[in-house]
Each structure stands twice: as C-alpha cells, then as structure tokens.
Symmetry: C2
C-alpha cells in the first residue's frame, strides 16, 4: 500500500502539500497537477485509519437494531443508509439481540470503533452506557422507542393516534368488544398503543373489558397464542386489533387454523404493511408506519448534530404519522 510519503516523493513535494491537494485546499496549480499525477500512478488512497486517529472522525454512524432478521428494523436501517450516503457517511449495523446486555455490548463496540454518532432502536427503558457516550459528545438519535432516563433526540411514530385510528374504525363499524393483542408494557410502543386503544374507548364512552386485552412479546408465537386465548373466551371479541406486525401474523395463523372466516366471523386490523399483509386473504386493513421516512429522518437529524448544528430544541422529538389503510378485513356489524 502506497502512503502519502510515497506520493510526496514521486511528486517532488512535501507530504503536507499532498495532504492539502487531497483535502482541496489552495495549492499552486503546477504542484496540484503533479500530486494528482502521482496519486494516479501509485493508485494511492488515503488510509482512513490514520486519518481517523488524527482527526477523531471516522465518517461512520453506528446503527443498533434489536433483531437483524426483523424486516421492520432492517427496513429502517436501509432508510438510514440511503439518506446518509450522499453526505459521505457510512453505517455499521449491529444486532442487540433484544437484550440490554447485547445492546450494551454493541454500544461498547461502536464506541471502540469511534463512530461519529449512534442511531439506536433501544430495547429497554434505560441504558447508562448510552448516556455516558452522549456526555462525551457523541450524538445519539433514538428511533421508534424512547428511553426514560435519557434526554436524546428521537424519531418516533405517533403510536397513540395510530392505534386510536384502528380502534375507532372498528367502533364506527359497530364493534364493541375489540380484543387487543398488545405489546409488552415495558416497551415504549407497547404502552403507547395501549393508550390509543383506551383513549378511543373513552372518547366513544364505551367501557373497557380488561379480559380482552392481552400482552405479548411482539413475536409470531405470542400473537398466535393470544389470539387463541381471546377466541377461547366465553364471550369472545367481534374484532381484534394486533399491535405489531409479527403478532398480526401469529394471530392470523391462529384464526386460519380454527377455520375462522375473516371478516365474516371476525374483523381484524393488523400493524405494518409488509409481505404478509399483501398476501393474506382477505387483504388486511392495517396501521402503517412510514419506515423509510423514519430512517431518513433519523439520518438527517444525526447528520445535523454531527455537523455541530445544535439549533432547534434539545431533545428534538419528531412524531411521524401512521396511516390507516382500509382493505377487506373489517366487517360492519349491527
């Protein structure tokens, strides 16, 4: 590998001049030409490690997601990538494996790699490590979920109104017993979507039956299990709202197995619009999160912070709107 010294020697100038040419500073035209010539001849490219050691900038942003095999998360990561690329920044995607410990480990790893910023979809409601990093001046942007004990910029989804819209749609269609397959209450979005559910009930002056609210862990299996529990109730719901994508899948699977006809016998609203919701028969009515936009917004925000732009409020918390896409899984009842 040729170094800047080799280039300097070949071009007959000092390394400083080469560095200046490389960084687009003012250099005599003649020297610039010779340096560029030498760079080409030697096929030289700057050693990013050495540069980073000196400048404390790696031009890299760390992205931590809870699960790399979850499309929702990776789609967001992809959105971040796409938005950061034009700025010359690259990302390192890590998997926290849905655990605080894994998260801690990945944060340490990214810190080790001297990333210039971290975008994270956190798994718990606290993370001391993050706070420490933040105090050291590394910009942090939270996505999808908030952490209680930390003041950080965040890109969120308006979960409350997202869930509200779904439940309201069911109520307007005559449903009074709406089963909720909820996320866990220690996770931010789980809490919020439950609030949306409750608020819709309250606004329509209906009373809530806690027995038809069930808490899962966001995975297929728990959607499957909770759907079965709800359908086994002496007086089962006439409609179900599943509060995330994978639990929606599990729930549908359970309904299928029991040969329950949607929407004839049971109305259903799911969450997120990915492969499944397009292939299911009937097409599912769903609450859709703008995953691309989430990634993009996170990227823009962290870029701004990395540039040292601290204008605007701190923390800046963006709430992106969801969309209720009405298809054929909801039936109007008396």
């Amino acid at each position: 590998m040729p170094t800047i010294k080799d280039v300097a020697k070949l071009a007959g100038v000092s390394t400083a001049t080469v560095s200046r040419v490389l960084n687009g500073e003012n250099v005599k035209e003649e020297n610039r030409r010779r340096v560029e010539e030498a760079v080409k001849r030697l096929n030289y490219s700057t050693n990013t490690l050495a540069r980073a050691l000196k400048t404390n900038k790696t031009m890299t942003v760390g992205v931590i997601v809870p699960d790399l095999s979850n499309v929702f998360f990776t789609t967001i990561a992809k959105g971040i990538e796409k938005a950061l690329h034009p700025y010359g920044y690259s990302i390192m995607v890590c998997d926290s494996d849905e655990s605080i410990e894994g998260e801690r480990e990945k944060i340490a790893f990214l810190k080790d790699k001297f990333v210039d910023g971290i975008i994270i979809i956190p798994v718990g409601d606290q993370q001391l490590y993050l706070k420490r990093l933040q105090d050291d001046g590394t910009p942090i942007v939270l996505v999808d979920r908030l952490i209680e004990d930390i003041q950080a910029d965040a890109i969120l989804v308006d979960n409350i109104n997202g869930a509200y819209d779904a439940v309201e749609h069911l109520i307007v269609n005559g449903h009074r017993r709406i089963g909720l397959i909820s996320g866990p209450q220690h996770i931010f979005v789980g809490k919020e979507r439950l609030i949306g559910y409750e608020r819709a009930y309250t606004d329509y002056q209906l009373s809530i039956d806690p027995k038809i609210i069930r808490y899962g862990d966001l995975h297929i299996e728990s959607g499957y299990k909770l759907m079965n529990e709800l359908l086994d109730l002496p007086s089962p719901p006439t409609a179900i709202f599943a509060a995330n994508y994978y639990m929606s899948i599990g729930a549908i699977m359970a309904a299928n197995e029991r040969h329950i006809n949607i929407p004839e016998e049971l109305s259903f609203i799911g969450f997120d619009d990915m492969e499944l919701t397009r292939v299911i028969k009937p097409p599912l009515t769903v609450v859709v999160q703008p995953m691309d936009k989430m990634g993009q917004a996170a990227a823009e925000l962290i870029y701004k912070r990395m540039m040292g732009d601290n204008s605007g409020p701190f923390p800046t918390i963006l709430r992106l709107k969801t969309q209720l896409i009405k298809r054929e899984s909801v039936k109007k009842i008396n």
Copy 2:
C-alpha cells in the same frame, strides 16, 4: 480519553510494560498488579484505531448482502455474527442494493475500513474488485452464490437437489405439468434450481414444456405476475414450484386473488420457511435452506482463513443440504 502513557505514568512503569500486561505477556507480578490498578483507576481502554494502524488487524469482518430488508439475507448475517462473536470478531453489515455498482462501492468501503475478511452474497457473476482484494491477501468467503471468474471459498446450498426433491415430490404425486417460477438465469441459484427441475423431469422420462417455465427477479411482484401468466395459459399447470421465498409469496397472493383453492385445484411448493409459510392456509410444503448453518459455516471458514490456516483444499466449497418439508399444499392426482 486516557492513553497508554497515562497508565504507564500512573503505574510507574514504561508504556512497553503496560502493553505487555494488556496483551497477556510475561511481566513481573508486582508490575502487573500496578498496571491493572492504573487501568481500572483511569478507566482506560486501548484505542483500537491506533492498534489497527500498527497491526493491520481490525478484528472486523465485512458482510455484504444484496438487500438488508430481505429476511433470508439478514438471517444469514445474524448467523455469521453469532458464530464470529466468540472469537472476538465483529461484523460490519452492508447492503449492496442488488447492484454490481453498489457491491463495488461496499467492497471499497470495507477495504477502506481495513476489515480482516469479507463474507459476501454476490449479486453478479463477476467482480474484479473482489479479486483484487483477494490477491492482496484478504480472505473472501462467498455465500449462497458463486462468482464465475474468481477462485474463492464458498458456502452454498445444494440447490439442484433441493429443486429436484420438490419437483420429484410433485411428479410422484401424479403431476405432469409443473409450472416453474424460476429465478433469473444470471443469478447462480436461479440457474441451479432450474437444473434441478430439468433433471427431475429427465429422470422420470417426462418432457419439459418451456412455456410453463417462467423467469422472475426474485421479488414478490414477479412471483405474482408469473403465477397469473401461468394460470392464464390455455392449458395451465396442475402444480407450481416457486424457486424462492418472495416469489412464493407473490404466487400465493395471485392464487388467492383468483380464489383458487390450494391444493384442491392447484398444488404448490414454495421455497424457504419463514413467516409466510407458517401463516398461509393451507400450510405450505416447502424446500428449506439451513440459513443459520450457512452463516455459521461461512464464519467458521473465514475465521480459519484469517488465522492463516490454509489447510484443506482451495477453494473450499461447502454444499449444505436443503430439506423438503411436506405439509398440506400438494394433492395427489390421478
């Protein structure tokens, strides 16, 4: 940030001694104790950038996948991560965006980051950049697909026999007109699975009707489109074999829309066992690839190479077996 000098000063020894302690070499017990004490007091950790600059080892492996929002790929990436972690290696996951150009860019990026090895699911059938890296001594492991003009270790799936098993199963169940929703022929697995299809037909002395072989681009939409084309044929197939996961989804979606009953009116075998195949009614018979094992095998192989172990043949090409999981989407016909 404390440096090794700070530690040396506090411990009253030289930086060399500190370095030795850090790297577990022989040091007088007393000094070791004092150094460890100082490390703890200062909360020191070695600067990986500086170390990498000196040693030319970053303890990082680059992983390039064609699409970060494709579960098949990210599941493999996750498997790699899990297997490499115990060795102290971390991974950088990149998205080549299904393009040669994107791939080239990511390879350059990883080279810039001085990764110690690259595991890649390639998108085309050539890649000069890779060859160059390999010539520079960076271990490369191909996953899922081979590249024609390169000699490299690879972890593949026995696509030929995987497809063969599926088609054979349909033939044994009386089907003679088996529609194939194939991948593109410029992609390795597309070619191989077609061969498996053809071989099964040949072995059973049946003649192939090229009209019921259709070529898609591996995405949902093309599965959907090709399924419709096949069903619109004057004499449509009695069974369909879709040669990847997303095209399977699209195909099923098309069948659903046309209210075609599987397996009563049409038998179906899909590829890979992920969310969809578990939720579809009826449960789908599928050819399953061992994604976890693929990731793990790739990790083990590249680790071996990074350790300088060149035993075994070069290139080492592993063929992992697929499994035909028989469920309820195939009907025996006369």
